[in-house]
């Protein structure tokens, strides 16, 4: 099963870091997210983009997690030569992660 079967997401930039909001479809799915989608696993998932660190925040009131990928945008907004310089697609990319359920 893929993450996109149990959650939706949005991502964006702050300087050279990006965040990904990951929102579960229901409480059962939120428990799966909390157990399986760790900060470490998300950092590893995006390792090719070279994040310096990965932090996870829990928002149980919204059934959501927020990941901050420190330095993942390399040089940030205007300097970066990347097509996705602002991390707009990272959320959709994360939804392709495999999940056990």
């Amino acid at each position: 099963m893929k993450l996109r079967d149990i959650a939706h997401a949005r991502s964006g930039d702050k300087g050279d870091s990006a965040n990904i909001g990951l929102i579960a479809f229901d409480e059962y799915a939120y428990r799966i997210l909390c157990e399986q989608v760790t900060a470490e696993r998300v950092g590893q998932f995006f390792r090719a983009l070279g994040p310096r660190g990965s932090t996870r925040y829990e928002l149980p009131n919204l059934l959501a997690l927020n990941f901050v990928l420190d330095g993942v945008l390399a040089e940030g907004g205007s300097r970066s030569l990347r097509l996705d310089a602002q991390g707009k697609v990272l959320g959709q990319a994360l939804l392709e992660m495999e999940i056990d359920a």
Binding site: Y57, L59, S78, R82, D84
Partner: protein, 429 residues
Amino acid sequence: MSLRIGNAQGFWGDRPAAPVEMVSRMPDLDYLTLEYLAELSLSIMAAQRAADSSLGYARDLVGTIDRLAPFWKDGARFKLVTNGGGLEPRACALACREVLARHGVRKTIGIVSGDNVLGRIHDAPHPLDTANAYLGAAPVAEALALGADIVITGRIADPSLVVGPCMHEFGWSLDDLDRLAGATIAGHLLECGAQSTGGMSTHWMEIPDPAGNGYPVAEMEADGSFVLTKPPGSGGEVSLRTVKEQLLYEIGDPDHLVTPDVIVSFLSLALAGDGPDRIRVTGAKGKPAPDAYKVSCSYSDGFRCDAMLALHTHDAAAKARRLGEVILDRVRAQGFRLDRTRIEVIGDGACTDGLPSSVPLSEVVLRVSAAAHDRRALECFSREIAPTVGNGPAGVTGYATGRPKIRPVFGYHPAFIAKHEVSPTVEIL
């Protein structure tokens, strides 16, 4: 009676038709906000002003005022709050007044400035072109109290465009922390335009009438709670799924969202349906704002050029990568130095670097980019793209948009400045 605040511009370059669509569908709108300034917008305005001293603000705003003027002439009573003043809020206000006069519309314009702190940032790694503090809601509220119908600001925290009208209309002070927090959440949901009403949705294929996607409206209450909705009859969707995605957009620690007005926690928020395309948001908690303003600084950092070519041929991704190297080699062989380069293959994991396709693709787009401080290096690069159609692999096409443009590069430097070193000013025009 709730206060209806709608935002119809989420960035400089957002849909020009959006403000008129909002006010024509919402004759009872109290405030229209227009948000123009991303992190690096002011550096682009600085470059425009260097080329033409009459610029330095969001010129689009003047055209928008021109299209809104007939509504005011017909008796619409909405007030306008915008950060489109950029580096030159006064020049922007004068241009807006001139356009209004052509329509025979008289409006009191409040100008908020004092955000420019260039020369007062001492730890920057490069000589700075711009340095602007993110001002808060208080000077906006002050301008409204002085009778402004239109408030034009420079750099200001985006949510403060919404918090300012709430402070003025509800009589809040900067000590009403939970109320300020609620209005800040509303501002956060409004500031990116249609991103809270169906735009950018994971479920975009299920969003009704995406072509007519409405922009967001907050119905604010005096206690800081609100209903997020959109104009009647507009397309798009306001639901838990669209609102939650935007709540999490570009945030860090959800217990500690910092603005110049208040520090907000999202962890006590409660969202509930309140009828079709209506989500009620309650429970925001605020802590006192820090005693420093965040400052966005920018500096010029050379030039860049990005080129694209389509390839349709067997093993297209590998050929695209090799072709990118060939282009860069040809530039270097002519003696030019490129500071930074990048080759991406669109269709083969360009955005993620690590998740390429496992099958040989037959159709991809090569994107090859270069940055240099010597503009001539990029002029050379730009001339090396089209020739690869005849001097590269078979199956290269898609070059017909002409030579790629050379654009300036701006570096971004975040900083802080103590609030007592900054003097927000309000002028009535």
